[in-house]
Each structure stands twice: as C-alpha cells, then as structure tokens.
Amino acid sequence: MPLLTESKHFIRPDGPDKVTGSGRYVADISLTGMLTAKFLYAGVSHARITRLDISAARQVPGVFAVLTQEDVPERRFGSVADRTLFAKDVVRFEGEVIAAVAAVDAEAAQQGLDAVVFEYEPLPAVTDLEAAIADGAQLVHEGWADYEAADVERDGNIASFTSMIRGDVEAGMAEADHVVSSRYVSDASQPAPIEPRGVLAQWEGDRVTIWSSTQVPFQARDGVCETLDLPTNRVRVIVPHMGGGFGGKCGFHYEAHVAALARAARRPVRLVFSRQEEFIAPDRRREGMIIEITTGLRNDGTLTARRARVLLDNGAYSSDASFFPHMAAMQTLGPYKIDNIHVEASSIYTNRQPSGSVRAPTAPQACWALESHTDELAAAIGMDPVAFRQQNCVDTGETGVAGQVYDEIGLQDCIREAVSAIDYSQELDENEAIGVAVGWWPSFPGPSGAFVKIDSDGKGVITTGAQECGTGSVMTLPILAAVELGMEPEDFELVYQDTSAAPYDEGATGSQTILNNGRATVEAAQQIAVQLKSLAAEKLEASPDDIVLADGKAHVAGSPELAVSIADLAGVAAEGEMLLGKGSGTPPEYPSAVGVDCIGDRGLSGWVGPQFSCHAVKIRLDRETGVVRVLDVSAAHDSGVIINPIGASGQVEGGVLMGIGQALTERTVYSEDGAQENPAFLDYKLQTIADAPPIRVHFVEIFTPGVGPHGSKPIAEAPNVATAAAISNAITKLVGRPVAQLPMTAERVWGLMQGRGGG
C-alpha cells in the first residue's frame, strides 16, 4: 500500500501549541461570572452516613450552591450499576463525593465545605482480597444483588467473575514431567497524567456546554444525560487540549456534578483538581492483583496444562472494570500453545479507590506474573528462556490458548528482533543481566464517525468524534485523508473533541482511534475522492475510473500531463454540489474462540487484530542495596503496518518507560483501613527522563487485513505490557528467584537477597 513517505516526517498539528504553551487546557478557560467548585470527600473508607446537613453551608457568604445526592435524580451508573453521583447512605471509599460547593472563589468554597455537617458510623473496611471472599465476609455492597449489570457474573463481594476452561487440565497435568506453581502479588498503581482534570460547565437556557479534560467526550456526555435526565442534544462536551490521561480520564467522571452545580448556581462553574484529588477520587487506578499459576510441562519443553487463579482488587465501585477478569485470564494464559487450561478470575469489591481502565488494564501485572513464571518453567528443564518461548509461543496458522487460529502474525519475529537488538549473548558483568518477555494485547473494534470537507481553495477540514489524549492518533488522521485524496497531511485542519460538532466515537480508550476513526476518516475521504474524480473526468474528458488523485492534482491514468489541480476542482464544487464526505464504516467482527467453556464471558476469548510484542531489558543490580537500574531496552512490536512511525515509536518509548516505573518504583500504598498513604508525587515515584535508558524500537510490519486502515493494528497500549516482566526475569537471573511482588522495589529485591520474601 502506498503510505505517505512524508508521514515519516509528519509534524503533529497540536505539537507547536503544546510545546510553546499557547495551547489551552480546561484550567486556562474562564468565563464571566464563573464560580469555583470544590468537593467534600468522605475521608473514611467505609461508613454509614448518620447525618448530612448542608443548611449552614448554603448560608456561607460567597457560596452559591451546595449539592448532595438529595439534589440530583436517583440514578445508578457503571458497568455494574453500583454507584450514584454523590454518596447515598453508605460511603465505600475515602474519595467518594459527599457534597459539592460552588462559590465565588476557592476560599469561600472551602468555607462552604467546612460548614457541611457530615457524621457517620464507621463500618469495617474490606481490604483483604482473600478475606473478602471468605464465608461471612463483610459486604461492601449490601444491596449488590439488586444492581443492574447485563452479562456480569456476580456474587456478594465478587463484582465480576470469569472462568475459561478448554481441554482437560487434570489429564494435561498427569502427562507432565514437571509441575511448577507460582504465586505473584501486584500492588495497585496510578495513571498519573500530568494535567489534573478540570471541568467547566455553563448553561444557556436548558442546554449545557461542558468543557472537560476527558478522554471520552461521548461517554462523558452520555453519563451526564443518564444521571441528570437530559437528552443527548442538550449536552455538549468540548475537550480543549488534554494533558494526558493513560486511562485515568476514561469513563464518566465529574461532568454531571459540575453541570448540576452550574444549574443550581445559575452561573458558570469550574472544577480543577489538585494533584491529591487526582490520586484519590477518580474511579481509575491500576488494580492490585494476586496471581497463582500452575503449569505442567514435559522435559522437551512442551506445555501440557495450565491452571490459574486470579484475584483483582475491584475497589469500591465497578466503573468499567467488569471485563477485567476475562482480560486477566487471557493475560495469565498468554500467547502460548497450551491445549488444557482452567483459569478463574474474580474482581473483588474492597473499600478502596475503584479500579478502572488504565493503559492496557490487567496486562502489565498479569504479564509480569505469567512471564516470570515462564522463566521458572524454562529453568525447571534447564532450557534457555528465549529458546523456550520460541518453542512455545504461537506463530502464524497455530492455535492459541482460547482456540483461536491466528492468521499471519509476527510474534516469533518480535522475539528474534528484540533479542538481537539487545545483543542477548553479550558478555555481562556479574551484576548485569538481560531479561526477555513476550506480551500480547487485543484490538477493540467499535462504532466511530468522521466528516471530511474540502472548501473552495482546496483545503480540507476533518471533523471527528475522536479524542486526542496525547498519543497523536487524532493527529494522524490527516495522513489517512491525504493518502485517499492525493493531498498532503498539512492540507487538513482538524475539528475534534466536540460532541455537538462531530459524530460519535468511543474516545481515547482501548487504543482504538486509528482502528475505528481511521476507518471512518478513510471512508469519508473516499466519498470526496469519488466526487473529485467525477469532476475531473468531466474537465479532462475521461472516464472517472481512469482518474488518479496524486500530488494535489487529478490526472488521467498514464498521462500525468492531462491534469487539473484539486484546488481548481474544489472551486468548481464550491459553487454547487460541495465536497462533503461522511464515514463510519463497519467495525471488524470478533473471531470466535473455539472450544472454550467460559462463564462470565465478556467476548474477549477471540481477539481481533492481536498485537504481539517482545521486550528485552538489560539491567544492573546494586547488590548492596537492591537498587535496579535499567541500562538498555529493546522493544519489538507487531502492530501491523505502521502509519505514523514517529508517533508509533513515541508510544513504545512511553510505554516502556511507564513499564519501568511499574516494575521498580510505582505503587499506591494503602493503610489498613483502605486510605492511600502516598497520594502525591513526593512518594508516588514515576520514572523521570533522567532515568530513561536507550529504548530501541523495532516494528515487525505485517500487512494485516481486516483490522485498521492500510493493514495496521493499534499500538498505544501494547508497549505497556511486557516491560515489567522482562525486568523481573533479568532480576531473577541475578538473585536466583523471582521477587514475586510488584513493584520490585529496591527494598524488596534486597529482602529477597537476605532470604526474605520472593516467589
């Protein structure tokens, strides 16, 4: 396929704004008469509300509105409808919103909050996953059985359950020469976007405009409509530039609270989170997990059976997390050939911050466990872990764990490339080691729409429902339109992130923008191509089928001199039938998974456009302190054909760096009663640019039909799967056993060397 060679040097249209500071974010926008919003949070993990009195707060000078659940419709929402906008009767985590205040300034808003009378009777906090599913455990949701939740398998504190069974595990284990069991525990971590979120709402009559730093404007809009009883066309969500999300700004968050405040106050109202709020309140953190895996294998390396049990910390509410058990089950099985499997995964209610989609939900932790376990398997038969993977990983035409037969895939190439780029067989210092891990991740087809128009001077505008979360996906759409129309990406401007201007899109979630909105943009551009060809055919006295669009012109095939510029054609069209295209296309269908018996099936056993990766890392260990430094990384990815190499490489580099953080330093620490102890960057340790090792990115480009445009597959989440796993395997080579706790902090590594902990 002719992909733009120019795309190699394509400068993203929002780049200059963001780099120079001229870009505007929600916190930069202010409207005349605007008020400041603040929330009163529960500050207790589990309690029954005994008194909530806002009458004094409403009297505080400068306070215009104070709201609680009493003031909004009684609507429950979430993938399990277990939540209301404000706490009702019971609070289930410390960051639950009790009341909201809008006031002339932050000080008055704080005084308003201080005047709210909030009394409660503490309930025992559920924080231990095993205890939460034991008989007689304290329930997080007494009324769980009454919640609506289509297709979610639930029971008491089990918010969502999935099992996958294929073949005969008992028989498989009986055939094994070795049976290896491992237990791994991962702490929770955070998306940590650089911009703490902002929401600004303004009513005009019975319509509301909401500026929000959301990754999913249409979901945000629909959440407002659902909880405040409004039709979709009276709620307009606009996203100015957004300062990162990593999943943290997916889902429906505080748009309804702020809209309700603005309506009550009869003034525009703006909420801007502090960093601490950004840590504590959103229903989006990476879930803690307990992963137990037992695998049978033969002396020749053949995998005969796998049994696994995964417990995920769901937190207090289900947000979008009810598909996580199915996802975690697939990640615990991995891109391997095993015919006999039995996995059970449960997401368990606790009185902690709710878990929700953070970049590749469940994958970094589960892959870390699986791939650490895989090195243990290789060690059990004395085989090199790379050779072990080459033998056991799926390849083109082979059948995966869930019975899916793969078309052309590049996992084996990824292994070869990653291993060769890191120079796997190099001489290493006694404190250095190289670890290798493979990863996989699905694509998420869905509905999405775009409009393209070309105006009288031949310049175009793409109006898309897609959301730019910083990855550059939306910024890549002009490349796709340009390819269809023989134009340059720079010929297109973008109108995006406005639910009233553009058709629906699922948002910056599930790495789906190019896959779905790319498809829509291509279809819209193709409609214009048809129009241009027919206009050119008339002008050049040729058949439309013989017209070629290239280099800003329409010419007759084989006779480039018989040409007319697209600008001229656009001028003609502007006088009559205009150049307007619209597209959505048909999303790819999910392949079936053959022979899997699945309870709590979330449709994730058969994967569309599976993406594969192999990461290899070289580390150095300070043996006296347990501090690990990553010295070198190679990351090879099969994401199909790469449309925008600069953008795609950036995704891999960022994913790897995030993976290093998850591997070594990032964790949310909880007190016994469920409160976060480090909701600030002082003690929640992201990696910094000074920590970044060289990251060698390699794409195994295989034209993959039936997924994204031009044979592409998605890329944004896949790089955040295998890094922590590769680091774990490198550490194990130096200390003899897996650390088995994530993150693998210096003190944990040191403890293992002292004979404490470890798997």
């Binding site: 150095r620 300070d622 430094r629 070594l664 620490v669 002082l682 910094t688 640019i689 210096a746 040191w750």
Partner: protein, 299 residues
C-alpha cells in the same frame, strides 16, 4: 497576608523583627504550603534579591558562602568542586535542574529537614552558620543549629546570612553519597558524607562521617576518626558501615523500613569514605559521586 521584597539586608532584618518569615527560593516553603504541610506564613519577606547573600568569597580561614547561593552555583563553583567536593555532590543531587536553579543553601539549611542533602556534607566539612538580626550577629555550630525535624535554634528574627567553611587540610577529600531509587526528583532515603585526610604513607590520618535521614536531624557519627586513623582506606569500609549502622536511629516510613535504612546508610557511608579517600589521593571523581561510582547501579 503581607509580602515584601527586601531591598537591603537592614530591611529584611527589620521585617523579621516585625514578625515576617523569610522566603528565598520558596521551594520548601511554597511547595510545602501547597502540599498542606504548613500554611504559608501570613507575613513574608523575600530575600532572594539581596546581592550580599549571593557571594561565594574566600576568607582568612576558608570560604564564606552566602545564604542565597543556589544549588546550581554550588555544583559548578570551581572552589567548591575542588575543595569542598561533598557539598557539590549534594547540590548536584537536589531535585531537578529547576529546583537547583531556585533552591538555596540557606533555605536548605534553615528548613532543617532530616533528609536535607547539604547538611551531612556541611557537617563533615566543619561548617558554621552565620546568623544575623537587628540585635547583632553570631555564628552557630551546625550541631547546635538543628534541634529536630524542621526545627532550628535560630530565633525568629534571625536570618542566616552565610555558611562559613574552614580551609581544607592538605591531602584531604570529601564525598556525599545518597541512596536513590531514581535519578532525579528524589528525596534522600538515606545519605552519608565523609571527609578523609591521608598521611604521607597513604593511611588515613583524620576523617569524619555524617548521615542524612536516619535521625531527627543530620548527625555526625562519633569515633570515626579513631576508627579510621592509621588504616588504609581499603581496610575501613566494614568497620565504618558497622559504626554507622550502630549510630543510626532510623524510622520506618513509605520510603523504607528502619532495618533497610540501617543497612543502606552503612553502605552509603563506606562508599563515601572510599570516594573521599580516593579524592584525597588525587583521583578525579566527577560530581556527583553517585553517578561516577554507580550508586544505585547507575553506571
């Protein structure tokens, strides 16, 4: 709330006498207030524009560093780097480039965090603080200055105007080594500074060790000089680590357990002594020593 930018030292001292708190770079004061550590004082006087506080100048017996000298200057000043290297090591590790460009030595010292980075180096280098008020000026030993976490013995009207360091003996070297989990924006989990003087035969004739983040204040370890005297630097590591682990009174918190701190502070101290001795012997070890010798496996 009142805020004043002092145009002269007198103005600053008058403001302090009237109850204002000084702000230099604000990287502790302002950031701490934002994090809810302590509210901003209701009356503030900015001292960052006072030229007399930003000098590094030789004195009869050594060197005088103005309180408002930034970390960025400390880590590049030729005299500090060559003679008071441990201080440069510490300044180079503070925060990020922006923190180092704004944060000052006086602010670090007067903030009196037990995890401060310049404290242990200043202690092994024998520094004293010059404090001044409308009532006059005096010098204070650092061991008398720091009285607890965030606590100093300076009176509220006293401004730290400079830190005085004595000149260095011949064949001496110093180093500051910090345990870090990452390479920027880190706060000391533990840290150790050492000063070592060598005799002509290459054995240690004198030395000292001070520790960060293992007690309510920066502490100097007793008996270190005696422990090291007469030994070759290679031979003292284990004894230093043991003495340090003994002297430390670490707590357990989010960053580390007490036992891990007790162990690693010994490791840091042994490495600081080693680096200081090598510098004393004339070896060039670039600043900060953390990078040069691979603390935290950073090689």
């Amino acid at each position: 709330m009142s805020f004043m930018i002092a145009g002269s030292l007198e103005e600053a001292l008058t403001a302090l006498a009237a109850g204002a708190r000084p702000v230099a770079g604000g990287t502790d004061l302002v950031v701490g207030a934002r994090q809810g550590k302590a509210p901003l004082p209701t009356s503030l006087v900015a001292i960052d524009r006072l030229a007399e506080l930003t000098q590094i100048e030789p004195t009869d017996g050594g060197i005088r560093i103005g309180a408002s000298v930034t970390h960025a200057r400390l880590l590049t000043d030729p005299t500090i780097v060559s003679d008071y290297t441990a201080l440069a090591d510490a300044a180079a590790l503070v925060g990020s480039p922006s923190t180092r460009n704004v944060g000052t030595l006086g602010g670090n010292v007067m903030n009196a965090s037990p995890a401060m980075d310049t404290g242990a180096p200043l202690m092994v280098l024998g520094a004293v603080a010059e404090v001044q008020s409308e009532r006059g000026s005096r010098t204070v030993d650092l061991s008398d200055l720091w009285t607890g976490p965030g606590q100093t013995s300076a009176k509220v009207d006293e401004l730290c105007v400079a830190i005085d360091l004595p000149s260095r003996p011949a064949r001496s070297g110093s180093a500051y080594v910090r345990l870090e989990y990452r390479r920027a924006m880190e706060i000391a989990v533990v840290g150790a500074a050492a000063s070592v003087t060598l005799a002509d035969d290459g054995t240690i004739s004198d030395g000292s060790v001070a520790l960060s983040a293992v007690a309510p204040t920066i502490i100097e370890v007793d008996g270190v000089a005696e422990l090291m005297a007469g030994h070759l630097p290679d031979a003292v590591g284990a004894a230093i680590a043991a003495a340090v682990a003994e002297a430390a009174e670490p707590i357990s918190d989010l960053r580390a357990s007490d036992s891990y701190r007790r162990h690693t502070v010994g490791v840091m101290a042994a490495r600081a002594v080693d680096a200081a001795a090598r510098r004393a012997a004339g070896e060039e070890i670039s600043v900060p020593v953390n990078r040069a010798i691979g603390v935290g496996a950073s090689r």
